[in-house]
């Protein structure tokens, strides 16, 4: 193997005559600036803890992250010190894939059909409904498909199929995408090719595409409220019972991998269902929007399977 010429790299960068200099501080304002930047970078790192807390990997959706709720909850949980949660916001599809591979300890997802399959196949230990909000159908103000006022979502979707309007979809196996697909199934139709666009991206990007191109889009109310100021889109259909958006916590089955942090996942699970967190969720950003973004389940999560 080649001997590594460290000395030459050092000298090649121009530090070769350091031994001739008066002090150890490199001369030259630029070099000093560089050293200062590096040291300040090192100093601004968080202090390493004496005992590093047990890691819990939470795989969850982008809608929980975009509203800021995820960061608030994670910070509160980590303050307790015993465990450290690492929330990875990837979308329900990928979250459940990570769960299947034993790469995550606990999931927070909102894709009921996929969750059913996940539980049935034995990948989940326990599933508990945590909270809900609603999906709404948003469309351009001039409403080319004449959907406005049609609060039966099946009829609304049918109207979109019959019109020449464009519909923008997530197209990424997320909870929102799966909800949208189930609604097309019930409506018995789908927009013609060329009028159905799939962005493959998060809710924010997807609804912005719809906004730019005056198209229709299905999104959760929380995201709509967050982005309302910069959108021209308006809510054209809402309130249908089918549009309820349920978020569930799923403990990953420990039998999938020995590396799953069972106690940590349980601790986070209990934390999320505690009274103080329910209060947090129910009041999250209410002052900013004048309405509730997320509603916790009042019966202690009767969706346990």
């Amino acid at each position: 193997m080649f001997p590594i010429p460290w000395k030459h790299a050092w000298k090649g960068l121009g530090f070769g005559d350091m031994h001739k200099r008066k002090g150890i501080v490199p001369s030259g304002k630029a070099t000093r600036l560089l050293c200062m930047l590096f040291v300040s970078g090192l100093l601004s790192l968080p202090e390493p803890e004496a005992k590093s807390p047990d890691t819990v990997i939470l795989a969850t959706t982008t809608s929980v992250q975009d509203t800021g709720l995820l960061d608030v909850l994670a910070e509160r949980f980590n303050k307790k010190g015993e465990y450290r949660v690492k929330p990875i916001a990837v979308g329900s599809g990928q979250a459940m894939q990570l769960g299947r591979r034993g790469e995550a300890d606990i999931l927070l997802v909102h894709s009921p059909e996929d969750e059913d399959a996940f539980m049935k196949e034995g990948f989940g230990l326990k599933r508990t409904r945590l909270m809900h909000n609603e999906f709404v159908l948003a469309g351009p103000p001039n409403d080319p498909a004449k959907v406005k006022g049609q609060n039966n979502i099946t009829e609304a979707f049918k109207k979109i199929c019959l019109s020449k309007a464009v519909f923008v979809s997530r197209g990424d196996n997320s909870g929102t995408h799966k909800m949208e697909l189930s609604l097309w199934k019930v409506a018995g139709c789908k927009p013609a090719a060329g009028l159905y666009w799939e962005t493959g991206q998060g809710m924010g990007q997807t609804v912005r595409v719809a906004d730019e191109r005056s198209a229709y889009c299905l999104l959760d109310r929380a995201t709509f409220l967050t982005l309302r100021k910069m959108l021209r889109l308006v809510i054209v259909s809402e309130g249908d019972a089918r549009l309820k958006n349920y978020y569930s916590l799923i403990l990953v089955n420990p039998r999938l991998s020995r590396k799953i942090n069972v106690s940590g996942a349980q601790a986070f699970h209990d934390f999320m269902l505690s009274g103080e967190v329910k209060e947090l969720i129910n009041t999250h950003r209410n002052d900013a929007f004048g309405q509730q973004l997320f509603f916790t389940e009042t019966d202690g999560g009767n969706g346990s399977h």
Partner: protein
């Protein structure tokens, strides 16, 4: 009677307002010493400087040796290095994630969603850049120079030192390019780091998050801070480079 119609005046578009807002917000965040932004800034700096430093420690010596020595499949190796210069960061992120997954080959390290994992991914991105440019800069020197120095009685190590000194301007350009390749990338640090607040969130991943969440002025402010950071580091490096040019 109106002589000048309103349509000749620039309309205040959403774009213009956002950029101004972004600039103001950026200045406020820095001057007020916003704790969260500063810690993100610090982490960005640490990860990029650490990975660039290690990339230089690997890339320059090996690049120098590859440039001057004759060995079989030399051209093939240089092609591989040059291809490595263009490695898409998101692909590197995906590959490193797969390796660092709990059930993956390097799962025991537990580096996924940590700073160490991010630095590893960035080393893989920066090293070919530094190495490739080092090879090119040494090969750009007079071909016979190496042999001439050797024939004058120098050892291999002394000869390499002199060659590197000769090419120091280009070597520093290689360092600048290596740093640039990691400070600007988002794919690898997003996938391997997970963009976790207070733990693995850097400027580029925060910009993606703020954009996704619709906080455009914040995203622009962070973008401007990132550009300023990158500019400062490059200013220092370029000054070093140009002072040696004299």
């Amino acid at each position: 009677m109106r002589l000048v119609s309103n349509c000749f005046l620039p309309k205040r578009t959403a774009g213009m307002g956002l950029i101004e807002e972004g600039i103001m917000k950026g200045m406020r965040l820095i001057l007020a010493g916003d704790g969260e932004v500063f810690s993100i800034l610090g982490l960005t700096l640490f990860v990029c400087v650490a990975s660039t430093t290690i990339a230089v420690c690997i890339g320059v010596p090996f690049g120098a040796l590859i440039a001057v020595k004759k060995f079989p499949f030399k051209k093939m190796l240089i092609t591989v290095i040059n291809t490595g210069m263009g490695l898409p960061p998101v692909v590197v992120g995906l590959a490193v994630s797969l390796m660092l997954f709990r059930n993956g080959p390097l799962g025991a390290l537990e580096w996924l969603y940590t700073v160490k994992g991010m630095i590893l991914a960035q080393i893989i991105i920066a090293t070919p850049v530094v190495m490739g440019l080092t090879v090119a800069s040494l090969q750009g020197l007079e071909i016979k120079l190496y042999r001439q120095i050797l024939s004058l009685g120098a050892s291999q190590t002394q000869a390499l030192y002199l060659m590197l000194k000769e090419a120091r301007l280009s070597i520093l350009a290689a360092v600048i390019a290596g740093f640039g390749s990691v400070i600007s990338e988002v794919g690898a640090v997003m996938m391997v780091g997970g963009n976790i607040k207070g733990q693995t969130r850097v400027l580029t991943t925060d910009i993606v998050l703020q954009t996704q969440a619709g906080n455009f002025s914040m995203a622009i402010a962070l973008g401007l801070i990132l550009l300023t950071l990158s500019f400062s580091v490059n200013l220092a490096l370029t000054f070093i480079q140009q002072s040696r040019a004299n």
